[in-house]
Symmetry: C2
Subunit: 328 residues, 2 copies
């Protein structure tokens, strides 16, 4: 018998452990084209908060009483699909559980890039793709730009900082607390703003006296407002996430939204899925960067399926540095 | 002696008549390359509100105790500049006054398009250029798009509606009150929402059951939020103005800003000056549209220099249909 986390109830505001329930599930029989996978690593991501609401969006909502899912890496233990054999490591979308039967068409064998498997949930996976195309495509960031990355110690932010440096940009990162700020500095950021030490607008104004050309938004709220306040002419904002608003249910108050006009700001929201067809482009830059150490990977690892909800809730308390993962 | 409106004091919130003072000014002598112009038409525009604040922006602030300025059309009455003769009609930036001495290099003779001179402050001038490039360039609107134009009975909005129709788009306009809504309908809008009759979000949801592809923003605030709520995937917003916030001094509350991400919305602020080099492109579409009646012009005309502040304050009370002008 496999075990999977189920959505027990929908949260109102900040989720709690009571919204989740770990239950046994019966796995389907191994039909033609299917593989049985023993999960090794589960991805823990802020976007999953949105799936706990009953709202139509770009990924389906979790259903009350049903198993949850998400990114995962596992080992094939039984295969009824051509090209897949026991021992193969695959990436797939049946996370939040220890074992799954999945269609081989929805599972990708990990490319042989000499990297440990968990990297494919982080810097070499969706997290890295998000940072890479968000910065270079959505925000059209280019060499010489002054780039502000919020939540720069987080999974996506920490990769965005490093991609920006690898491409010759000046980078200002924000993070909460001295440890995270030190981590962001270690990634090569030129300036780091501790948003817990004072208002982000004041901190950013000091760190970017000439303003910013690009903002990579993972936070929304006050961070977005500060970026609007300090944007230079023709600034470009990639809107990747707004974690500040995921649980609050409150409207976002923007004092500086009108600067969009005078500074001719371009804001662009994006979803990583839209870039999957351009994966080759991503690997051609990122694989050598990871191999050379130009882009480093950092994970916060929580052990045991039992602890998945705690790991998830930790995202909203800022408990992770880099990518949050659960190891089984 | 000429007379010019001066900024007497800076407003705090909504301006009042007390912020303005009509005083005599001494005109400079007619140096080489200068023309003396008797103004006929003065442009009255919402963006002038921003210039009453002491804030660095894309046009200089008005200075307390100094004459104000803005778009104007006048007749050359004396010329010391080659190519300019008494009787020539010119467009220039020394408005808010009855007479001016200006450098001929900053004055444009009106092109011969068979249109009355005041059109060059409206549909054939900055107003029209704003609507045209805001829609077609900033928002990248194209045939078949569902376009929402706020303040659609206003100067820029009423042109944007007509340009969108001329280019084969479906148009929803918002306006305040039955008269303005009837006017917007007369311009060819497919749907009109009276924002005084109920919340704009509700009205827009009913008028655009399938959502919107493009939003041309003249209002900000609740209108912008409703557009965010109803944007379809890959929607594009041209941010032209946010009149709702010009006097309030309050932050903008956005409940739906997070939809930028899921719907991959692109928002782009723009300033009409950036499009002046593309004037030929504008005339090649707009001149035939105006000649054929495909794009109609509507002005609200106030007579007399004395009444310029009232005309200006009327913009914020919604007293104008189409372009607000003062006739001397």
């Amino acid at each position: 018998m496999a075990r999977a986390w189920h959505l027990k109830s929908r949260p109102n505001g900040m989720p709690t452990a009571d919204n989740f329930e770990l239950k046994q599930i019966e796995l389907p029989s191994l039909g033609e084209g299917m593989v049985r996978v023993r999960n090794r690593w589960l991805s823990v991501d802020p976007y999953m908060r949105g799936r706990m609401n009953d709202v139509k969006s770009y990924v389906p909502s979790f259903q009350v009483g049903e198993p949850m899912d998400g990114g995962a890496i596992g080992e094939v233990v039984e295969s009824n699909a051509e090209g897949f054999a026991p021992g193969d490591l695959v990436q797939h979308m049946s996370g939040w559980r220890d074992e799954a039967v999945v269609s081989a068409r929805t599972a990708q064998k990990l490319p042989d890039l000499g990297a440990p498997p968990e990297r494919f949930l982080g810097v070499l996976g969706v997290t890295g793709i998000t940072a890479y195309f968000g910065l270079l495509d959505a925000a059209q960031a280019k060499e010489g730009d002054i780039v502000f990355v919020s939540a720069a110690a987080g999974a996506v932010g920490s990769v965005a900082v490093q991609v920006a440096k690898a491409k010759g940009m000046t980078v200002i990162g924000s993070a909460g607390g001295a440890d995270k700020c030190a981590f962001v500095r270690s990634l090569g950021a030129d300036q780091v703003v501790d948003y817990k030490a004072g208002p982000i607008l004041k901190g950013l104004a000091a760190a970017a006296p000439d303003g910013i050309d690009v903002y990579f938004d993972n936070v929304g709220g006050d961070h977005l407002d500060a970026a609007l306040a300090l944007a230079r002419n023709n600034a470009r904002f990639a809107i990747c996430g707004m974690i500040e608003g995921y649980n609050s249910g409150q409207p976002t108050n923007l004092r500086f939204i009108m600067r969009v006009i005078a500074a001719r700001i371009m804001m662009k929201g994006f979803i990583v899925f839209d870039y999957f067809p351009r994966m080759a482009e991503f690997y051609s830059d990122m694989a050598p960067w990871v191999a050379s150490g130009a882009v480093k990977s950092r994970e916060t690892v929580v052990d045991g399926l039992e602890n998945m909800p705690d790991a998830f809730l930790g995202l909203f308390k800022g408990e992770n540095i880099g990518k949050m993962l659960v190891r089984l």
